[in-house]
């Protein structure tokens, strides 16, 4: 079934899709967002780790290979709001060095733009969605920018303990920048520190798309169609223009949505899957893939955890899943002599039951029961996110198995290189040192399997169509009215949580699309 042609069809109503939708709809464009999952509302966001799993995908369209397979489902979203419906809302920026890895270190890749190109959008996004923090205190590590619109969030005992311990070993911690309301902001309530953020915040205190860009897009008449699974981007006979998308609606019926502009803003693994599945005789290797790089350079962060069990009651259930403190002290990519890459540190988060249980995954039986009692009073944690270099062998590719719509599944192949492994180990050591400085009798830093967190790459940006899929705005090099949004366009991943940069890069791309609409939309 064909629907009335619109100006823009956006695939995915998560962080980047919502940012594009708000900008374009407010510019008067007729926008349709297609999302494969339900149209979640605030009242659906039940305060429960178990019920919170409903806003994650059920069952993988992705298979996993490699030495360090990516943990897919917990990180992805399902439904309107996407993964940003359950994200931690830590809002660190990428730093200038992240945009110049190749130039500065002769490793990895460069972005085709610099920090200065994105920085104005960090400031815009902060004002638009609401960020709490102390921008001035971050300037020991980064160029100055505008102050955040809200003061830092409240600090609880866990944060106080980490701050004191970090001070004692010479690690600088400053108030964490988070996409949460420390005070009422734009009619949205201030946070009450109940810690249910990653089950979905229904109060509006956390800057998820439902209460920020998606709300703005809807107010500007953008249409959201839930339960709409896009399988292909459609092109004209010459293969020179995208003409719309094919999707299956909630009744499993095939639909076509024509549009002047197509924006792929699905999950990072899903955008390459759609492009590869959109192959035609004019694009035999998939759309926007003349470079052969669609699906390549998948990257994830590794995480080193440092745990401590305090004797005192630190009320670990109080706060947010975002951090109370942050540090870029280990961000320079040559911080460790034998472990290249940036590290970003957060300390002082609130916990739920699976944090208590998961902090000692080796315990079971009566020992686990005893641990749960102690952890509920005294558990604290510091995390160090670590970077891996872009590596074309880490990739998304189609497999022969198919989903219910006849679309090939995809596999994500991912292995950490020696630098990433060394950096992870160095971060474990560094975290353990701070944990011991808390004075806790019991501290531990697990060295089991290397975690994977935050998926980037697969549709990277660059200066030309030979070495990248899109330009710095998200416009594909091969088809001018086909755009891509989200962390898939990042050619390096830094070590910062990505959503602030996802919003900033998407807003920059959306402004560019509006400004050159006539030449792009045709």
């Amino acid at each position: 079934m064909a629907n009335e042609k619109v100006d823009v069809v956006i695939v995915g109503a998560g962080a980047s899709g919502s940012a594009f939708a708000a900008t374009l709809a407010k510019a008067g464009k007729k926008v349709v967002l297609l999302d494969s999952g339900p149209d979640w509302k605030n009242e659906d966001l039940i305060s429960s780790e178990m019920w919170g799993r409903r806003i994650r995908p059920a069952g993988p369209p992705f298979l996993h290979e490699g030495k360090n397979p990516f943990g897919y489902v917990g990180q992805a979203g399902w439904g309107v709001g996407g993964a940003a419906l359950h994200y931690f809302a830590n809002f660190p920026r990428y730093l200038p060095t992240d945009f110049k890895m190749k130039s500065e270190h002769n490793k990895g890749l460069d972005w085709p733009i610099s920090y200065e190109d994105v920085a104005p959008y960090y400031d815009k996004v902060a004002d638009e969605v609401g960020v709490s923090g102390d921008a001035k205190s971050e300037e020991i590590w980064r160029p100055a920018g505008k102050p955040y619109p809200m003061p830092p969030m409240k600090v609880f005992k866990a944060g106080q303990i980490w701050k004191k311990a970090a001070d004692s070993v010479g690690m600088r911690l400053v108030p964490a920048a988070v996409g949460m309301n420390s005070v009422e902001y734009k009619g949205r309530e201030a946070c009450i520190y109940d810690g249910w953020c990653s089950s979905g915040c229904p109060t509006g205190a956390l800057a998820n798309p439902l209460v920020t860009y998606l709300a703005e897009a809807r107010a500007a008449k953008a249409e959201v169609r839930p339960m709409s699974t896009v399988t292909r981007v459609l092109t004209n006979a010459e293969g020179t223009r995208a003409i719309g998308v094919e999707y299956f609606d909630g009744k499993r019926e095939r639909q076509v949505q024509e549009a002047s502009i197509v924006i792929l803003a699905a999950w990072t693994g899903q955008n390459p899957r759609i492009l590869l599945n959109s192959a035609t005789d004019k694009h035999p290797n998939g759309l926007a893939n003349k470079s052969g790089l669609v699906g390549k350079y998948i990257m994830t962060h590794h995480i080193a955890n440092a745990w401590a069990m305090m004797d005192e009651d630190v009320q670990p259930h109080m706060g947010t899943v975002g951090a109370q403190y942050m540090s870029y002290d280990r961000y320079p990519k040559t911080t460790n002599p034998n472990a290249f890459g940036s590290s970003y540190i957060v300390a002082g988060t609130s916990f739920k039951m699976h944090d208590y249980a998961g902090s000692r995954g080796d315990l079971f039986g009566p020992e686990l029961a005893a641990h749960m009692k102690k952890a509920a009073k005294g558990l604290i944690r510091m995390n160090m996110f670590g970077e891996e270099k872009p590596n074309a062998e880490n990739r998304v590719e189609l497999v022969t198995q198919k989903d219910e719509f006849g679309m090939p599944l995809a596999k994500i192949v991912h292995s950490y290189d020696e630098d990433a492994v060394a950096l992870w180990n160095a971060n474990i050591d560094a975290g353990a040192k701070v944990a011991k400085a808390t004075g806790a009798k019991e501290t531990w830093s697990p060295r089991g399997g290397m975690p994977t967190s935050h998926l980037h790459g697969g549709t990277i940006m660059g200066k030309d169509g030979g070495s990248s899929v899109v330009d710095s705005y998200g416009q594909t090099h091969d088809i001018s009215n086909l755009w891509i949004a989200g962390p898939g366009v990042f050619p390096t991943e830094g070590a910062s949580n990505p959503t602030y940069t996802i919003f900033a890069v998407a807003r920059r791309g959306a402004d560019q699309l509006v400004s050159k609409w006539g030449s792009v939309a045709g």
């Binding site: 039940i46 305060s47 009450i192 109940d194 208590y356 249980a357 079971f364």
Partner: protein, 187 residues
């Protein structure tokens, strides 16, 4: 903007409740209530249920009384998109019943190979403990099924869910639940 007022504790709706069948009636119960009332299982066979209950009880004390068997049976008997199971976010491919069947089958086969044909539920406490430790370390010879360490992780998480991850579980541990929107009492 459609946001909820702070600490707007709402009743969980029946649509969010877990449905169990008693006789020819559909009733909404917590897993613990379903266990106490002897709700008939829909998907798991008796031996599978026995193994699952014994293993989860060994992993997390009180899991059986909290209704771990009834919870998993109810969850794997419905659409995967409505499942609350941790398997959902650990890359287990639906239907989830396949995973649980394979897991408990592998456990019993592994136990039988070590203990002269016994099943897990027939092990002594020390034998069960030793077997679980070897599961953690992927040291069960001849194991056929999902990875031993992965089975340990998924089932332990399920058991933590029914014992601790409820309003009652929080209360038992002395942790304020602090809900914005309460989960339904009757699942």
């Amino acid at each position: 903007m459609d946001v909820l007022p702070r600490r707007a504790v709402m009743k969980g709706g029946l649509l969010a409740a877990l449905a169990f069948t008693i006789g020819d009636r559909v009733v909404y119960l917590s897993p613990g209530e379903a266990h106490a009332q002897g709700v008939a299982l829909r998907t798991l066979k008796a031996e599978e249920a026995e193994t699952l209950g014994s293993l989860c009880e060994a992993l997390v004390p009180d899991a059986r009384k909290a209704g771990i068997v009834e919870y998993i049976d109810q969850q794997i008997s419905g659409p995967p998109s409505e499942a609350l199971l941790q398997a959902r976010i650990l890359n287990v491919r639906p239907p989830f019943a396949n995973f649980y069947r394979a897991a408990v089958g592998a456990v019993d086969k592994g136990v039988a190979a070590r203990h002269a044909g016994k099943r897990f539920a027939q092990l002594s406490s020390d034998e069960a403990r030793s077997f679980i430790k070897d599961m953690q370390a992927n040291k069960i010879e001849g194991w056929q099924g999902p990875g031993t360490g992965f089975v340990y992780t998924v089932l332990r998480t399920d058991a933590v869910d029914v014992v601790y991850n409820t309003v009652a579980g929080y209360e038992a541990l002395g942790v304020p639940y602090q809900a914005h929107i309460l989960p339904p009492k009757k699942w």
